[in-house]
Symmetry: C2
Subunit: 158 residues, 2 copies
DNA sequence: CACAACTATATTGTGCGCAATAGATGTGCA
DNA sequence: TGCACATCTATTGCGCACAATATAGTTGTG
């Protein structure tokens, strides 16, 4: 290769990437959640929707998308599967027929009790302080990324 | 909600989750990479495969999977698309016909020059020290998660 | 040599995730 | 009032991501 020291700073090396560990961690976490969520008959994204609905009800598809950073192309079929599973109900908002209100069924509300152990089960064996630090760091990144997401439709350089 | 102070420590609150910001960041990043990688005719996972191959060649499907934490169910069709795009070649290892060796084509090697700007483009506007700190934190998490991943097939408690 | 156990990749089926687009409803403004 | 424009959800097409399974190849043991 080149003899220059600066050439050693190869920006394309996999272990220089920030995004790759995030990508890998997400895949690995998803894989670890799967067996824990299987008894609840939930996938990880469905679990996230339940977390949001357990906090507040009803929510529109747009509300859920804003909270989870997902769009209708992802949420509509996912919510239909959850509706078919009897966890939620979907109906048009009579005050604004463009909106779809998502509410929990009794089964959906009852499922919360069975989910209470999930965070503890998943968090087992990790240093709580380290995890909290990581959560804050990644959350800050999400806040920045979310500002850029879709921003180019409007302003430009925010 | 409840009057109890302990009840406020709801483990199911979305903003208590560590995994959700990781999930959201990954989706947001993927969305931001898409327009940058489009001129290279690469998706983000395909870009990761190219990063690995630009570092070393040839690699088996298993090598790529170990490096990226993906299995053949994901890689096989992805690699076939990259082969159809003329970026890589796949052939059975004559020394061990079970293995498939993945190599770059000339086009694949040449693409590296066009990819050199990608890290700088994506990293624009971020504090390098903060990014590096985050990278180390998430990488450490990946290392831990990877130990658990598939470990239950063998030992049990690592 | 036989043959069971193991390894590596491929296939199948399901569920995201998103860009692009469509279609229906609401809003503002002349 | 009428009509352009914006908003909200749904649909389509494609590419992951993975569990479960299948298939082909290799190795170890007798």
């Amino acid at each position: 290769m080149s003899g220059s020291v600066a050439a050693e700073e190869d920006p394309l090396r996999l272990d220089r990437q920030v995004c790759f560990p995030l990508y890998a961690a997400t895949n690995l976490i998803n894989r670890l959640y799967t067996p824990v969520l299987r008894p609840l008959r939930l996938t990880y994204p469905q679990y996230l929707v339940m977390l949001v609905l357990w906090e507040e009800e009803p929510q529109t598809v747009g509300d859920l998308g804003a909270r989870l950073h997902l769009d209708s192309g992802t949420l509509t079929p996912l919510l239909k599967r959850m509706e078919a599973a009897g966890l939620i109900a979907r109906r048009r908002d009579p005050r604004d027929e463009r909106r779809v209100l998502v509410t929990l069924t009794t089964d959906g509300r009852d499922l919360r009790a069975k989910a209470l152990h999930v965070p503890a089960t998943m968090g087992q064996g990790y240093d709580p302080a380290g995890v909290e630090e990581l959560r804050e760091g990644v959350s800050a990144l999400v806040a920045i990324l979310a500002r850029h997401d879709g921003a180019d439709k409007i302003g430009g350089d925010n």
